[in-house]
Symmetry: C3
Subunit: 447 residues, 3 copies
């Protein structure tokens, strides 16, 4: 692995200062997008798309071509892998050998991009790994908002629509919190933001969260479809960070998402009632300067009439995907003039490698799918007692029931004070007694 | 939309002078095809192919690479659109935003390329929109013939084979008429040239049309398969423009097409009898210098023995697709040295926007398919009384039965003298009384 | 066809001296892989893949981009050909017309690349034609071994695993024999090297072949799966060239292959018993410096533990595919500095064109598949009496039963002395009496 190699698997892989620097370079690129073909000649970007996502792929390929580099592309990799079954680890070493100087991966397994990054000698960019992350979308969303408003800190941003299954929304929420923006959640009923996302907002970025009345958002909910925000509905939820709802006089942006129908397995949701935003729905004073964002493609949730409205910035958002990806690619290749690529900042969190203990509980995690042949599950230890682990690959957290000592082979409940006294490198976490017994722990009657 | 932006959606989007200028540039490019990579550096061409057409796609991509530009390609866009259902209008704005500087579209809906052109900020080239047009094929056919013969005006060109369903043949016929060439139609029985094509040849280009004996073409019909040209068969048809059949001493070209089997729904045609051209069939004096053209791929309608014959120019025709597309792309990007890109010439025809009246009668028209969500049907008014409308998108014509007045809401038969007295901007055309009544017209007993 | 045009359809299309020269250039390219974009600007490589093989395709595309050229790609050509049925001959002339300056073909029909090469005006590279050849894989294998060992002559190379169906193994064996290396075959039971391969090794490269005890290879067979090499199993087979097994003190390389499951039609092979190589299996002294090679992708036949072992060179092998393909492409385009492209060396063997006689006996040969419409079967006459023919396209050999005289129309057994007295240009070979009679031979009672 190269000494100063950097990857972009998660939005957390870039520091705030780095992100803001990329915005500056992107602005420069965007001024005359055809003028940068001298920046990366002789370099090759590979797009490996195990799932179709034409728009994302084209955006990356356009970015690399505009930097003067070349592109190789495998967008039908299902065919390849289905037939001959190569592992991600081997793909990383082959494609990252001499084929390409930077790799962009789209893959259905959560954590797959981290695997590719760990095994490839060249930088890896995550273009979507299942329901986990799609960090360049987040980067682009942040950049667009930053360009429009000149800053991110202190902004008031509404997240609307399907807040339950939209990976884009979750990542955007984390990033906004990280840059000190406030978030108001206005979910479509049944698509509320999940508790684990709220918990992470609180834990990782110290966001204050209040359940609050969002009556002053009536302007965006004037249509009959928008009954979901009336305050007395018990399933409603709103999330404010560091401000009280009463103080919100105007909203800087509304981020609208389509219904992730394909993920609402079995749920009988009334799609006809899904909210639809247009100039009519945005006439309230607090929404006068509100930018309307959408990751595209839209279905019906933003009307065509909105397209002519100066507040609509979703097409600009798509267009800015090219210069910001140019900045990212040039950054990872170490070709940004005036910028020295630093080594990645350490996360600082202890890591637990689970050779015989708990596995990730996420069935879509790469450690339980194709990576199971060669990967050891790894977790960040977020909390000692009670134990809380976060999968290094897919980010899903779990609370193991038991902790064992590798030498005494004694077992303790993971929330017992004795558990904290085991040195981290001596711990083995187990999901329960059966797993512990199978591994030969707990024989001497402990716990 | 850019001030001087030009598209190439229809062969009519270029003037005769422009077409002849492109031929000159293509000749220059063709002399040393590898010498032009300085013409379009830093620019990107996107190929969006919703239907497979590998040959056409590769021809465009080769042209752009030879001009020094880059290519991004989505040839499996069925996948994309099927899953997430983005509209052509949105695709136009996203891909034409920062991704690409020129877009090539292949799409099954007739009129789809016009939609893309209307919504994209960058030039759009139509690489085939259903059965409507495939204008770069026509441009290439014209160019090849022009190179071989030094001119187009006055040429005698035979169109043979499937004249009913071949889009290529129809477009070529229009273009030949426009440049003053004569056409002789020798259809395979059951695949005669449609009346609407003949009418358009007469109306748009003042072509003289005679039904005539084509006995003197016996040379190309000597095989037993060619019974179709005997003059006494009532379904036979031949079309001469501005000359009498007796005066034809030699033919400049035969344009042969394969049977468009996939479009002859239900018809029980005898494919075994489909004509087959080879040196044997072309021994007559009038065919001594006749160039044999074919859009490729061929099936069996031209024998392999023909390939060695100096009259065969179908492979040359395919090869010339690259330099002529280079000329077109450089032209639309404004990069042809010594040539200033002019604004498109106005068609001069009044346009009728049909908010509440007739829709296009073509079920494959984009206004009745994915465009129905956001497009208002538009028609050129070709004739006032009786009313004749041509769909701006797919080119299909219709004669609406009734005309209403937007203010008096009175109705008239579209061939009545009163109809002509309504100002064009006051007219609403209807397919019949039911549609008119539904729109609230005709209540006061008019007509 | 260009005067000095060269193709790379078979490893035999390059002389030994040329191959060694390519190795030198590849070394130079590999030193700074990003520094060669001035070598082939303005040129275009087309990848036509009728079968998926993403890794091979990306390797070629990367090579061309690193040389500064452009790439056009059709990897879904099944679609194209299935719909409109263009022949390889026509594809060659269209794509080799103006579209591309060099073509890389992957196709399921054996001999297809030779057809493309015969009809295209530009160089053609075979990237795999059915079970026939995949010569750039062989070139890359040779190159990797040569780099590791400094030479090829005199090396001791073990071929292990599926020696029956692996095209890669057969081609590598021929190439090793040609360069004077020794081969030891250690097949998985039921996957022994076929007799025709052994015969060809003897006939074409004068290799000495002994069936011998391979007991001293026990080191690589120490696992319980490796029972297959015990000498008393009757189906075991080992092949030594020019050395006695007793003299082998150390092995230079083991080339391992995966089981070509998809080709073992009906065979009930125990995949669980398929050998698996790891550091544990390679502890014997004779294997201390043995390089472990694999064409990738692997399934389970090489353990992940092996990846850290310095003897493992399979990832290096994949990486070197790029510089060696750069050398090959630049060579065929005539752009290798200091190297003049010579005309292809004549094979020296007489050719028999079989208009009315034997056809190729290989049902997968292109002459019996899509080429049957326009190709005349051709054979090299390897031996006169008894007659032995090798198909020029797919390389499969056959022994025709009868030989006729084109003028006397007399027939002879192909092993009769009279057969040798017929001038080669007067001979017609027949598979048997029925075919001969159908062609009008043998009426006068001969034979």
């Amino acid at each position: 692995m190269g000494q100063s190699k950097r990857d972009f698997v998660s939005i957390d892989d870039l520091g705030n200062e780095e992100i803001l620097a990329l915005f500056g370079y992107a602005d420069e690129f965007n001024e005359d997008i055809k003028a940068w073909s001298d920046l990366c000649p002789g370099t090759i970007l590979a797009t490996l798309f195990f799932e179709p996502s034409t728009r994302t792929r084209l955006s990356f390929e356009s970015a690399m071509l505009r930097l003067g580099g070349g592109v190789i592309s495998a967008a039908d990799t299902k065919v390849m892998s289905a037939v001959k079954g190569e592992s991600l680890a081997d793909t990383a070493r082959v494609v990252g050998g001499r084929y390409a100087d930077i790799i962009v991966l789209r893959h259905q397994d959560e954590g797959s991009a981290r695997v590719l990054a760990n095994y490839a000698d060249v930088p890896v960019i995550n273009a979507g790994d299942g329901a986990h992350e799609h960090p360049t979308q987040t980067l682009c969303d942040l950049y667009t908002l930053w360009r429009e408003k000149g800053e991110l800190s202190g902004l008031e941003v509404v997240l609307a629509g399907d807040l339950k299954y939209s990976r884009t929304i979750h990542s955007f929420a984390y990033a906004l919190a990280r840059f000190g923006a406030s978030i108001v959640c206005v979910p479509f009923p049944g698509m509320e933001i999940p508790d684990h996302v709220v918990e992470r907002l609180q834990r990782d970025w110290n966001a204050d969260v209040d359940r609050a009345d969002v009556g002053d958002l009536a302007g965006i909910t004037a249509s009959k479809d928008a009954v979901y925000i009336t305050p007395h509905k018990p399933h409603q939820q709103s999330l404010f960070t560091r401000i009280s709802p009463q103080s919100v006089k105007k909203f800087d942006a509304i981020y609208m998402t389509r219904s992730q129908k394909e993920r609402h397995e079995g749920a009988n949701l009334d799609d006809l009632a899904y909210p639809r935003i247009g100039p009519e729905e945005l006439r309230q004073a607090s929404l006068k300067d509100t930018r309307v964002m959408h990751p595209l493609p839209r279905v019906d949730e933003i009307s065509y009439a909105m397209d002519q409205d100066p507040r609509a910035i979703y097409f600009r958002q798509a267009a800015l995907g090219v210069p910001i990806r140019m900045a990212l690619v040039a950054f990872l290749l170490g070709r940004l003039k005036g910028w020295k690529l630093a080594s990645p900042a350490p996360s600082g969190r202890p890591i637990y490698r689970s050779r015989s203990g708990v596995a990730c509980r996420n069935a879509h995690c790469v450690t339980r799918r194709e990576g199971r042949k060669y990967l050891v599950p790894e977790f960040w230890i977020l909390s000692d007692v009670p134990a809380l682990l976060r999968c290094v690959y897919c980010g899903v957290e779990r609370r193991p029931e038991l902790v064992g000592h590798t030498q005494s082979r004694k077992l303790h409940r993971s929330n017992a004070p004795e558990a904290a006294r085991i040195l981290p490198q001596r711990r083995v976490y187990f999901e329960g007694p059966a797993q512990a017994a199978a591994a030969g722990f707990g024989e001497d009657g402990s716990d």
